[in-house]
């Protein structure tokens, strides 16, 4: 193992530049450890975002050597190329400063896709029993573990090309709710994801599932939405 890593970190906003730091390489060191080392030892003005450091909160995603990744669970030993790490903010999002991207457009699209649970019962009703073995629940479970890290959003070609596109995460979320039998908002949800910029804008490039740190497959979820909206359209519900 080399003693030092040459680390290039993005500084400033969209019109910024990469700044080079020399960071000691350690065993079991993550990319987030590298960024934190720079902030604590070389330049305290470095801005970046993290919270849990264990791959749960989805806060720390950045572009690492050209690929969007969750930095807290990415070991430097896996991604250093020729002793070098180039780390920038997530693509397809505005840059606030340095490595912190502005996730507002990402979450606004989550809302546009009706990614919010619409209850069909009141608290006075008994709790509905959902069999984990039922087909809708199996479909929902396959897509439910999204941590909102926006790695798929940054990896998606269609998001880059089409500013109206809702993106893989929002559509994946919509798919989990379409399959949630307790939800009462599917008419509006299917209409939202069947509009311009919705699921039919997806080209199935599958970058989302290639890059998803939780090994989810938003492309499959979007394909499910295409089928479901087509059925609803043929039945005259859209």
């Amino acid at each position: 193992m080399a003693d030092m890593i040459e680390v290039l970190l993005w500084r400033g906003k969209e019109d910024g530049r990469y700044q080079t730091f020399q960071v000691p390489q350690r065993e079991n060191q993550t990319v987030l450890d590298v960024v934190s080392w720079v902030q604590r030892n070389a330049d305290p003005t470095l801005s970046y975002r993290f919270a849990c450091r264990v791959g749960v909160c989805g806060s720390c995603a950045m572009t690492v050597n050209g690929r969007p990744r969750w930095t807290c669970r990415t070991h430097t030993s896996r991604v250093v190329e020729n002793g070098r790490l180039k780390i920038g903010p997530l693509a397809n999002l505005p840059v606030i400063k340095d490595l912190a991207a502005d996730l507002q457009p990402f979450f606004e699209k989550w809302q546009q896709a009706k990614g919010v649970f619409a209850p069909s019962k009141t608290r006075a009703d008994p709790v509905e029993t959902i069999s984990p073995a039922s087909a809708p629940r199996i479909a929902a479970d396959a897509a439910i573990e999204c941590i909102n890290c926006a790695v798929c959003f940054a990896a998606c070609d269609t998001v880059r090309w089409n500013e109206d596109y809702l993106g893989p995460a929002a559509l994946n979320r919509a798919w989990t709710l379409v399959n949630d039998v307790r939800d009462a908002g599917n008419r509006e949800r299917l209409a939202a994801v069947a509009a311009d910029g919705g699921c039919h804008a997806c080209h199935s490039h599958q970058s989302c599932q290639e890059h998803c740190p939780n090994k989810l497959n938003p492309t499959a979820s979007i394909a499910g939405l295409k089928r479901r909206t087509m059925q609803a359209y043929i039945r005259g519900e859209l």
């Binding site: 090309w161 089409n162 109206d164 069947a194 509009a195 311009d196 919705g198 039919h200 087509m230 043929i234």
Partner: protein
């Protein structure tokens, strides 16, 4: 692309799939037999069958292509909303007019 355009584009693709195959077979048949233009026109003039075959082909292709062009323009140009729809309709109508003119020339 919204659901209506998506369904229409898939439907026209489904219509065109067998038509394209038949069209290719017809091309091979005509060229391998060495049919002259006059001989081809002799078979197509006044034929309701060929008129319907290529008329349907032209309408499906114009619809399919125009929707596809709209999708490409939405990603590669700043066009949005009504401008996109105007491009789609303009291209589709022009394609249909040119195609139907060609069909009428060999059938009527």
């Amino acid at each position: 692309m919204n659901i209506r355009l998506y369904v229409l584009q898939r439907a026209t693709a489904a219509i065109m799939a067998p038509l394209v195959l038949a069209h290719i077979v017809i091309i091979f048949y005509a060229t391998s037999r060495g049919l002259s233009a006059a001989e081809i026109l002799g078979r197509t003039k006044g034929s309701i069958g060929w008129g319907l075959f290529y008329g349907l082909f032209v309408l499906a292709a114009a619809t399919h292509g125009a929707i596809g062009l709209r999708a490409i323009a939405s990603e590669w140009t700043p066009l949005r909303g009504h401008a996109l729809d105007a491009l789609m309709w303009g291209f589709g109508v022009a394609l249909a007019a040119l195609g139907l003119r060609a069909v009428s020339a060999v059938v009527l």
